[in-house]
Amino acid sequence: MRGDNMEKKDDIVLKVDHLKKYFPVKNGLLGKNVDYVHAVDDVSFEMIRGTVVGLVGESGCGKSTLAQTVMGIYKPTEGFIEISGIDTGKSFSKNKEMKKLIQIVFQDPFWSLNPRMMVKDIIAEPINVHRLAKGDAVNERVGELLEMVGIDKQRMYSYPHEFSGGERQRVAIARSLAMNPQILLLDEPTSSIDTISQVEILNLLVDIKKRFNLSYILISHDLSVIYYLSNQIVVMYLGEVVEIGNTEDVFNKRYHPYTQALMRAIPVIAADGTVERIDALEGNVPSAINPPKGCRFHDRCEFCQERCRTENPALREIEPGHKVACHFAHLPEN
């Protein structure tokens, strides 16, 4: 059923279908499973080749778990993930071929690069593991990768501490490109970098995306970065997708009260130099072990009504390509 009719449509590089990831909570002497953390609960989305999907939400909303499950670090509890039309299935973690398709760039380049390894060895490691090159060709490839991210290849014999934060992030990006992946998972790629170096990283990401027709899954707290890079946005709350759509629609229309609250909390400088007041969202993300009945956001929602307490709203399409999980999503934003 799948596969045949999909290639006709846009080239879908990643398809996440009803993905669930529960973590068991063990208790007692025998370590019985007493409960589950519903980290990712029934998430579906598709990513077209060459585009960027931005994942937003507070900490604990499951965006990292979702990304790591897609990476194959966790095995899905239910649902399936397709990369380039291939079902990753259950053997993902052992399947080296699949791992070449998707690579990750971590948040903090101070921790993600081994301080005792030369940059040359850091970048060569995945090449050696996957036997992509041998002998002199390895160094050649490393040099090529470094030039790609804008670092002089003479510096491959340096150690990470000889690089600035922005340069280290470039090295991390070079490493992730070593296997010619199709998807890069960017987990807060600029949040530990200064504003001025951030520009260079963003420009680099745009550049290599075009050159290699890459697709990105972008996780960031900084909505301006998300807006700048993403084509599509997935807003998550407590393991569920509450709003999904293309970037401009989600930012401008903000149908879900959670999306509204999230955007109101973020300071943005407008073009004319004015700054909007920011507003806090009261309360904390509830426990993912016993998520609230009904709509998971109801106890923090200012529009909460009786129906929200009992019935969990399904994700429904409000306008083409823009889905919202809220009973009253047609309410205008105030």
Binding site: I266, I269, V275
Partner: protein, 328 residues
Amino acid sequence: MDHGNIVLEIKDLVVRAKTIKGESELLRIDHLVVNRGEILGIVGESGSGKSILALTILGLLPSNVRIVSGQVLFNGVDLAKKSRKQLTGEYLGKQMTMIFQDPMASLNPVFTVKQQLEGVIKANSHGLSRNEVTQKAIGMLNLVKLSDPEMTLRKYPHELSGGMRQRVLIAMALSAGANFLISDEATRSLDVTIQAGILKLMEELASSLGLSVMFITSNIALAATVCYNLGILYSGEVVEIGPVKEILRNPKHSYTRAFLSCLPTPQKKGKVMEAVPGRMPDPLDKPKGCKFHPRCAMCQEICMRDIPHLHGVSEDHRIACHVVAAGE
């Protein structure tokens, strides 16, 4: 400006550090003022000296760093002349205080909130009965808008969320009666929704208690939402200072302009953004004259020779730039 309203005034401050590789200048601040009830934003990249500025005010500088010249006037008293002992005895915690980026690292994980908060209260107000101390602790938690203070008191730091921990720290910071707070990236590790709450709390405390805050951050948009005045720090010097609105609408210094142009705004979507060449100078090898001149497009000969001083471009808006000064 009413002189009695000034809480902190820094004049001609120079701070230097001795290292194995030689002596380096960390801070050179002509003039900086924090008024009562004001939140002053200090914005800079890493390495701009914003944390050293906080430590200088509090007298917590490492042993190899010292104030070479200048004054740090706190309510009219020059703190630069006080010994470390006098500072910790009379000022630190009692009149001025600081909150840090990581609230978990600032709280002791093996004591409850009650033990830690009441410890501060007892150390600073003698002769209170046990009941009065607890009542004051509850009052402080109410002040920082923590719901259910009695419950919070019984908890250990790990049982609290990041935002709650930061609120507990603010409560501890204020319970000794301090009216000047330095916040060094205090909301950086928090979620945006929680961060907004902490900022709101700071604003409320500033207006209700007359608390003065030095709000140190690397996020200019964040500073712009809570502060009236903003200082931009580059390589240990204030390059531009003035009302947020003016700086954002009409930035004068090339560094401020570069900084603002680097923010990814909606208008720039899909376009390649302009990058600023070079990077912050090494403290051991700072350029002569204006510290920004190697990266500045408007650089002239005088910029390589003389250190620019702050001058007014309008009533409150001041910048340190030779080229703009010559153009006026």
